[in-house]
């Protein structure tokens, strides 16, 4: 009997899972289901170089010729619609049922829309198709309003302003990223917009998009009107787990897993943006949308699925993300909580090159670097030393 593992999700976490299965010696069938028609590609450039037009879609490809040897069975352009743990099947939207001895859930997340309307010129950004559609609109002189100053919103604002677009950012929070970075560092990041000629309205939400077939502007919660030719909703993402409701797999703002990626169902693991996993670093159950998590969590989850010992290097368990905005590289690792003390150990907050270390009870718990990749890398490693031993 041929054993089959079905990987549901054809992006970074899904591909990393498929590769990990082969690397760990699984020689049965591996079926990879991807809702997008395009083979796995890298998403971070979609708001940066790809949106700017300096990187092509082909250059985003994650597959290399070596991956042919993995002997994967692809089901692209097809969404999974049902997981039946009793029958051990994954059902697809074209009716195919894949008998599966093991299942890796890697369905990722989808951009949160602003509202139900879809006028011409209202965009979200998650896929290559989204980025291509948006890129068409970012002509010099166009007026863009970005709703939400999270990383996607901030990067779109940065890229668009470099393209000669007139950009305004609207953010509900009084300081974007305040919870993740703390008020001081978050304020430095927020200032990048203004330093680069982008207007930012904080502490105010968007009441509605004004449209007449096509976008004409937005109305803010305080009744101010902003004229716009293009509106991008950068409101974060929600996990693609609706199809799992009723399957018996435990959902908790994502597919609930332990530190090793195991769900409550035997033979079913979850990884990447769709997984709300126990994190050894914080001691909490958290869903992470970080690239590094999607790339590295699969190695351990696949070990769990195959009943093998997990990899010995848990350094990736220190949450890590980066962003490129206005020519600055921003990197953050660890986990910040209110009350943590911030020490600027290199540069100063008034510049665009500094390193800030967050301490709790004197111990470093997180680090933020702006244009300090070398020093940041050293601190990031030190943070891994805080992890409890895996044994």
């Amino acid at each position: 009997v041929t054993r089959t593992v079905t990987v549901v999700g054809g992006s970074l976490a899904g591909l990393s899972s498929a590769r990990a299965l082969r690397e760990r010696g699984f020689d049965g069938r591996v079926v990879v289901v991807g809702a997008e028609p395009r083979p796995p590609y890298d998403r971070p450039p979609l708001s940066k170089d790809f949106l700017a037009g300096t990187v092509t879609a082909d250059e985003l490809a994650l597959l290399s010729p070596d991956d042919d040897e993995l002997d994967l069975e692809w089901r692209l352009g097809r969404a999974a619609t049902r997981l039946d743990p009793a029958a051990r099947t994954v059902e697809l939207d074209d009716g195919e049922r894949i008998a599966s001895d093991g299942v890796v859930l890697a369905t990722g997340a989808a951009a949160r829309p602003l509202d139900d309307s879809a006028p011409d010129g209202l965009h979200t950004l998650r896929t290559v198709a989204d980025a291509e559609a948006l890129r068409e609109r970012l002509r010099p002189g166009a007026r863009l309003v970005v709703v939400g100053a999270g990383f996607v919103g901030a990067e779109v604002a940065s890229t668009a302003s470099a393209l000669g677009v007139t950009v305004t950012v609207v953010e509900q929070a009084s300081i974007p990223f305040e919870r993740a970075l703390g008020p001081d560092v978050a304020a430095v990041c927020a200032r990048l917009h203004e330093r680069n000629g982008v207007t930012v309205y904080t502490g105010v939400g968007v009441r509605r998009v004004l449209a007449n077939g096509a976008v004409r502007g937005v109305e803010l919660a305080d009744e101010r009107m902003l004229a716009a030719d293009v509106v991008v909703a950068g409101l974060g993402a929600r996990p693609c787990v609706d199809w799992l409701v009723g399957s018996g797999v435990e959902l908790d703002g994502g597919v609930r897993t332990d530190a090793g990626g195991a769900t409550n169902l035997p033979g079913v693991v979850a990884v990447g943006d769709c997984a709300a996993s126990y994190r050894r670093y914080t001691g909490t159950v958290t869903r992470l949308e970080h690239w590094t998590n999607a790339a590295q969590q699969p190695a351990e989850a696949v070990a769990t699925l195959l009943g093998q010992r997990p990899p010995a290097h848990p350094a990736y368990e220190v949450p890590y993300f980066w962003s490129d905005q206005y020519g600055c590289r921003l990197q953050f690792a660890g986990h910040r909580e209110p009350g943590d003390r911030v020490d600027v150990v290199e540069g100063d907050l008034g510049s665009t090159s500094f390193l800030a270390v967050y301490r709790r009870g004197g111990e470093p718990v997180a680090v933020f670097g702006m244009n300090q990749p070398r020093l940041f890398g050293r601190w990031r490693r030190q943070l891994a030393a805080r992890l409890p031993s895996m044994d």
Binding site: P44, P65, A295, W322, P373, R378
Partner: protein, 118 residues
Amino acid sequence: MISVGALDDIPTDEGVRIQADVPIAVFRVGTGTESEVYAIDDTCTHQRASLADGWVEDCKVECPLHSVCFDLRTGQPDGLLTKKPVRTHQVVVSDGQVYVRLSTEVNQPEEGREVEVA
């Protein structure tokens, strides 16, 4: 050949970046007479990041952005993120001065390419 500078000015287990046609990262591994110097293309083949800023360990450099590790001797990456090697360049140390002879190959990451080991 491109002059990098004095060997003693390259910190152990760290990289320096020099500008040629493309940026080159030069690393010194080990100390004193035991030290070896390696040169590779500075830009990570995965996404834009300078490998000279990376972490050096076991004759490998870890990209500061995504942790892809490249072998300093062969330019080959390990792990699952990229299969594309960086070019390696010949290093000459003479009278305590370090020079790099650039590889003439085009960066074509196909199999069977020859690798110059410094």
